[in-house]
Amino acid sequence: MTKVTRRRFLGTLGAGAATLTLWPGISAAATGSETRLLVLLLRGGLDGLHAVPPYGDPDYARLRGPLALAPDSAQPASKLDGTFALHPALAFAAQLFGRGEFMPLVAVAPPYWGRSHFDAQDCVENGTATPYGAQTGWLNRAAAALAGADGLAIANVMPLMMRGPANIQTWSPPLPMQVNPILLQRLEPLYGEDPQLAAAFANALQSQGQGESMNDMQSGGAAGSNDAMEQNVPAGKAGTLPGRLPALMKAAGSFMAGADGPRVGFVEDYGWDTHANEAAILGRKLKELDDAFAAFHGAAVAVWPKTVIVAVTEFGRTAAINGTNGTDHGTGGAMFLAGGAVRGGRVGGKWPGMAANQLFEQRDIRATTDLRAIFKGILTGHMGLGEAVLAQNVFPNSGALAPFDGLLRA
């Protein structure tokens, strides 16, 4: 009995930690006809102008300077139409676009336009017109309205969007080993001031392949792993391991692909708050996002034709770049729909333009579409919820806001 070795101990403890046994019957091929909806919340404020560059807008190149992208850039963006392109890192998404299964929407925002991360995210999640307007999340209330539909949140703690009366399972991988580059950016000056820790921190950045990340990291550079903690994988080595988000999306896809799998899912990511050195950071983050779409697709082929993925963020960023090759908190931003049920292959939303008099408060893209209208459009057509339920329960007091039309295949 002294052979209760450490490995065995951990092995026993770890049994089932990362298996897909949460949902009974998951191994069977999906035979159900039920549709699937996954919401991916990108916390931090994705810069829509960098992800979906409006290269055709006459003011874009001037305002964006070195951050401007176009189909004829050194790293060419994928041309979507005469006005918009897609960041080169979003290669799989561009393929989906070609198949009509991917749709960027521009100039969208929650009804809150105040530029605070927390307030804006709260609003995106609670589904009302104001931050802290509800204690539960709209996606949970939508799941509750779908008789018998369970939900899945890929998170350690229940996110607001999934809180509420409906039954939601949570799942998360044991330990995210990838470090948020924005977190490193925030820590760097703090460590610089601690004489005992400064050198160790600087060396850590260097040896983890992040040393140049603060200055001129190339796109697709450092990635990380989210392997189980007992695996001695060197975390964060450049480009050798899949990122955190793809792993989460793969897990979500595996769960949701089951015949009895959850119909409603939620995944969250962070690290999108690009105040400095944006080209490098977004190059990496958008690659991760692209890999995440591919990972979900690969894991959920069986239900892909009945799936809508909604990737959404709390706000867009300033039209002009700031003094540190980044952008600050803005208003109107971009979102993405992906999946076989999406009527994609085109850019949605109403573009307000980037001329000084077209900008909101002369600095941000004006939001022309309320995010809730998009959500409503998907919940009616795709999930079969009635407009009355949506206007009262899911998005309280939103009767005046019509569901956005034409997002889905007939």
Partner: protein, 483 residues
Amino acid sequence: MAADQSYAAATAANRFGLGIRPGENAVLNDPALWLAAQLRAAPDGARTFDGLPTSFDYMQREVEFYRRRNQRKGAAGVKKGAAEPSQVNALRESYQEAFGADLRREYLARWTIAADTGTPFAERLVRFWSNHFAVSTDKLRARLYALPMEREAIRPHVNGRFFDLLLAVQTHPAMLRYLDQGQSIGPDSRAARRVAERADGAPARKRGLNENLAREILELHTLGADSGYTQADVTEFARALTGWSMPVVAPQRLDPGAASGGAFLYREAAHEPGVRTILGQRYSDDGQDQARAILADLAVHPATARHLAGQLARHFIADQPPPPVVQRMAQAYLDSHGELTAMYQALIHSPEAWAPQGRKFRTPQDFIIAGIRGGDVAVGTNPRLWEGLLMRLGQPTFQPHSPAGFTDVASDWIAPDAIWKRVQVAQALGERVPRTDLDALARATAVLGPHLDAPTRQAIARAEAPGQAMATLFACPAFQWRI
């Protein structure tokens, strides 16, 4: 709150405690009193450990396993050294599974008490003494007993006499097995003579004195290295300790006294007869009381007082603690004839211990516990996550790989890879902080007190999500220190 008072509260909670928990306000009113009150009774936790098996229970199950295994082997006609038949393997696996489940409960209870305790200073003392009397579970036959030793031998005596603590540890199966005491046999004992007679002139199987425990008691547990004892003292002490053992000496060797009723067993036959002389002091042969008398003298030896005071001061105040504090602590200990609380009182009443510029680097264990407490993170039901994090950070619970325990100075823990992993762990912790009503900035203020400087505050305020704000708090330099 006055500035001095807020520094004092932060010091009490972080330097002496396990890191502040939201809503833990008692420390704020009178930080010194808050500490002193924790020395008056046993530390919190009795209920957390309710229902866990005792070391004696574990040992009985070991005995039972060997008995059943030998029965099965006999029934199958297995010769010594031959491969074990499948029914023996099955038996082994069923016992391993049961012990594995118990170990999980042991580890979980230890994390739970760290997260929940209302007497964090006392809990820190428990862990200090656990590390002082380090056993390492990479010694397989000590594995089952390391966690019970903390519950059974250390926790009850942490606020008592050092001698009681010392005796409880040295008679615990974890220490007896870890430092090979159970097998030590006096060269002139009855047991040794029996072996020699049986060998009948042929070279006897080599069994005899083992000095391991005696040496570590002198060097690590009591007097300290370079305190003047000699190799002769070590050998004499080892002779006195012969016979101190346990019912299951080592796997596959049962003692006939196994049913005697406790996890400690004095084996008279193995005891080396005779008077012993240690540090110039003679000890008559009183059987098991001989070594006990030696421990009693060692416990109140001035060198022991200096050694313990130096280690405690290093643990709580600074890597290079001010000599006057160490001196005062040692003196208080001697004046009280070995009361640990006298030494603790001298520590917390030393102005040097409260100096705002003093700081200790958080060990990985401290770091994770402070994160769990500061973030109100649920420990959950599976300790694997936390044990895995500790292993990544280089401080696997009860695996210091050395009887000296884990190091207690900053330079040993500060390395680029270690810092990087802390950031990773900070992120993992941040994601586990419950978000309902979470105000990260208010939390950071509560956790760091006056040590939350403007740049750190700003970095936390700028985080893009509450979990990331908490990760920033846990990863920031100030959080790496017990200040």
